[in-house]
Amino acid sequence: MVANSHEPGRRRANGEREAEILAVLQEAGTPLTPGEVVEHLGDDLTYSTVVTILSRLHTKQLLTRTPRGRAYAYSPVADEPGLAARRMRGVLDERPDREAVLTRFVDGLSSADEELLRHLLGPEQDLDR
């Protein structure tokens, strides 16, 4: 986690930064060092922020990296659809009220719920296929 992760507003902003940086790496088509990412972004992001975000994306297994000179060059780990899939599971998982925004088909069951469910549906149901 980054040093200022205790600040919720800041962390949310970082989530958007992650998406932005991923888009840059997608477009580039070749591995980029943090310095090159900063150039592509061309806005107020500092070098150290970019390094932090890149290494976090690497930890989340969204990026691969190869040593180049004294830095690492980063590239997206997969094609666009695969990356989107990982984003769904990984990046969205961070949202504090994600469960309220995503309407899940089924929530988890407690042990009592499971027993009740099996009772309701009857023993003859082939649920454990």
Partner: protein, 312 residues
């Protein structure tokens, strides 16, 4: 002002029993509307009451009274509320405004973020299949939204059940269920007494989507019940996903279902005959909301007269 100003706060106490009745005895679409509107109206009325009480405290502060040319003597003689009540009301008002603003700000960001993610997902027909063995399925709100289903979930369900699952998630998106939930939770953030209404709304949108899925597909409600059960048991068997028990807070222990989580209650509701269009819950809800609005209006009018009297 004496009684009327407190009435919306007292009526908020009806939220817990009212939410239970609406969630369980009312047709889910109507129930969702009633729960959401109740949360918003009662939150507005109770917040307005706190504001009115707080104002009666403010006008006793000499510099403020001087600005409005109000007579402190008249205010102190005719004002029904104790100063301590006004101070407490002011503190609660600030807390309510802060909590509601924070909740809404957060939710707007989350929805914007979800819409961004939905837009990034390459899914021309609105369906995205995650290559993931863990069974999972959800609707991602956006413009347009996306239905996301994992391969693990598809593997568990047969063709008909997959259609039911997709119909359920599309019903969430088509009927803007995330907005109902957000508004109900907004009301509950401003007035915590209304939390049961928001909890119930998250349940009734699921019921609404279940019934829509039954209506859109085969009309076989038993089949929908079995699909929900099958999916829930499949999720439960997958290690690594901790259960999310959002609905534990339902009060009452009258039947085995009363303490149960949302999935068994949804299944039980689908296996039972459909809830008819009952008019009584809607009428009672409307009466309660009307009482809250009228009493707030009455209290506001009283304060207006008090200020006129003090200013004369």
């Amino acid at each position: 002002m004496h009684v009327a100003v407190y009435l919306p706060l007292l009526l908020s106490l009806l939220a817990a029993p009212g939410a239970r009745i609406l969630a369980e005895r009312c047709e889910p679409r109507l129930a969702t509307w009633l729960l959401t509107v109740s949360a918003v109206v009662l939150a507005a009325a109770s917040t307005a009451s706190l504001a009115l009480l707080a104002v009666t405290g403010l006008i006793r502060i000499p510099p403020l009274a001087a600005i409005g040319h109000w007579s402190l003597q008249v205010v102190q003689r005719d004002d029904p509320a104790e100063l301590s009540v006004a101070v407490v009301a002011g503190v609660l008002l600030a807390a309510a405004a802060f909590a509601a603003a924070r909740m809404m700000g957060r939710r707007v960001r989350s929805l914007a973020r979800a819409a961004l993610d939905a837009a990034c997902v390459p899914a021309p027909d609105g369906l995205m299949i995650l290559d993931d063995p863990a069974p999972d399925a959800f609707a991602l709100p956006g413009l347009p939204g996306r239905v996301v289903v994992s391969t693990g979930m598809l593997r568990v369900l047969d063709d008909g059940e997959q259609r039911i699952l997709l119909a359920h998630e599309r019903a969430h998106l088509d009927n803007h269920h995330y907005l109902f939930v957000a508004l109900a939770q907004f009301g509950a953030a401003a007035n915590p007494l209304l939390r049961p209404l928001a909890h119930a709304a998250t349940y009734t949108v699921e019921r609404w989507a279940d019934e829509r899925a039954a209506a859109i597909t085969t009309g076989d409600r038993d089949r929908v019940a079995r699909t929900v059960g099958k999916a829930a048991l499949a999720v439960r068997r997958t290690p690594g996903r901790s259960p999310v028990l959002g609905m534990i807070g339902m009060i009452g222990r009258r039947s085995p279902l009363s303490g149960a989580g949302p999935v068994p209650r949804r299944v039980a509701a689908l296996l039972a005959p459909p809830t008819g269009r009952r008019i009584a819950p809607a009428l009672i809800t409307a009466a309660v909301l009307l009482a809250a609005v009228v009493s707030t209006g009455h209290a506001a009018l009283d304060l207006h007269f008090l200020l006129e009297l003090a200013g004369a």
